[in-house]
Symmetry: C2
DNA sequence: ATATATACTTAACCTACATTAAGTTTTTGG
DNA sequence: CCAAAAACTTAATGTAGGTTAAGTATATAT
């Protein structure tokens, strides 16, 4: 399969020899998801980090009234996962599914651990990845705590312009933390303000 | 100085030889902070990760009305930092100050990078640290998006029982995302509900 | 092509939480 | 030990955003 996109992405942070590359790719698993299909089913909890080759995934939580709350979108070239479940290897609280037909690459946690032993440079790669994720969560939290819905929406548009046209509005509403009805009203309100 | 607490904390995740330990400690800087004192002043932006030996720090953002929004508390034994500024080495958007007289240990980013070269095991250590932080941010976001204020408060009490008695109520209000007035009313409301 | 599900809109009404403001208690610093 | 600042409380009033519900538009699948 075509792992080039992933290898190029990794090459931005660490450089791998030919052998390291092929050892790495030998550990990869490919999965195709139909729109609405879940990444992780049932007891299948030990999956490691997931890279989106093509398509669009999201992670979300469910509240006790059955409403979904989007934690993250992952278009092509992004990583996604439920970190609590990945660390603890217990069933997580996040659901991950495909918003479009998608192709993803993933690692078993045990293979990832072997990879760290064999090619320690990957510790650096995933450290950098994790640090970037932290920066973006700190940012998101700040905006949840301190901005009104309209500014959170504008922030989203600024940060993910390419997602605006391909995401259903209700998904964006969920991400910024309002109901679809309210987002609709807000966007169709007289001009601005 | 007494770096034992930090070394023990690190030993939970990686094991270091005597030399590695002393190389590491040679890079550390110690700083004492008075209550209300800021960790990072003015243009002093290139500070790396900060470990709290003693006391209590917090990071927060300021909104345009001058209100503070707490992103994280860091009691003794915890790490704290503004990840965006650490990565970009540009002034960040978070403020970090001491809620009690405190002692912290910190690294310059350039020293941290030398450390990664000399003792690659630290890549693993900070990767694990970062992954744990991600899990906790995913959790916090979930609770901001899907729980009402009372349940966020209860979640906070469950997660940080030791902080409840030593934190001013208004700091907890800020962390869970409500005004101090509302938290006060909520806690003094007839019994429960 | 048509049926059905899903997405979006609009509007009336509702509520969790914010704002303002005044008063009380506790902590801090000199 | 005292004055001033900071923290907490209470209450009246305001509002951003939720809920419910009904209708319209747009996909999706067969």
């Amino acid at each position: 399969m075509d792992y080039n996109q992933l290898l190029q992405h990794i090459a931005k942070h660490i450089s791998l020899s030919q052998e390291e590359q092929s050892y790495f790719t030998s550990l990869l698993n490919l999965k195709k998801l139909k729109k609405k299909q879940f990444l992780v089913q049932e007891e299948d909890i030990s999956r490691g980090p997931v890279f989106v080759l093509e398509g669009l995934l999201r992670s979300y939580s469910l509240d006790k009234n059955g409403f979904e709350h989007v934690i993250q979108f992952a278009p092509s070239g992004w990583w996604i996962g439920d970190m609590k479940s990945l660390i603890s290897q217990k069933p997580g609280t996040l659901y991950i599914d495909a918003l479009e037909d998608s192709t993803v690459i993933w690692l078993w946690k045990s293979d990832l651990e072997k990879l760290y032993e064999e090619v320690p440079k990957f510790e650096r790669f995933f450290r950098i990845l994790a640090e970037n994720a932290i920066a973006s969560y700190q940012n998101r939290l700040t905006s949840m705590l301190s901005l009104p819905a309209r500014e959170r929406y504008e922030g989203f548009c600024g940060l993910y312009p390419s997602l605006i046209d391909c995401l259903p509005q209700k998904q964006i509403a969920s991400y910024i933390g309002v109901t679809p009805e309210f987002l609709s009203k807000m966007l169709n309100a007289p001009a601005n303000k």
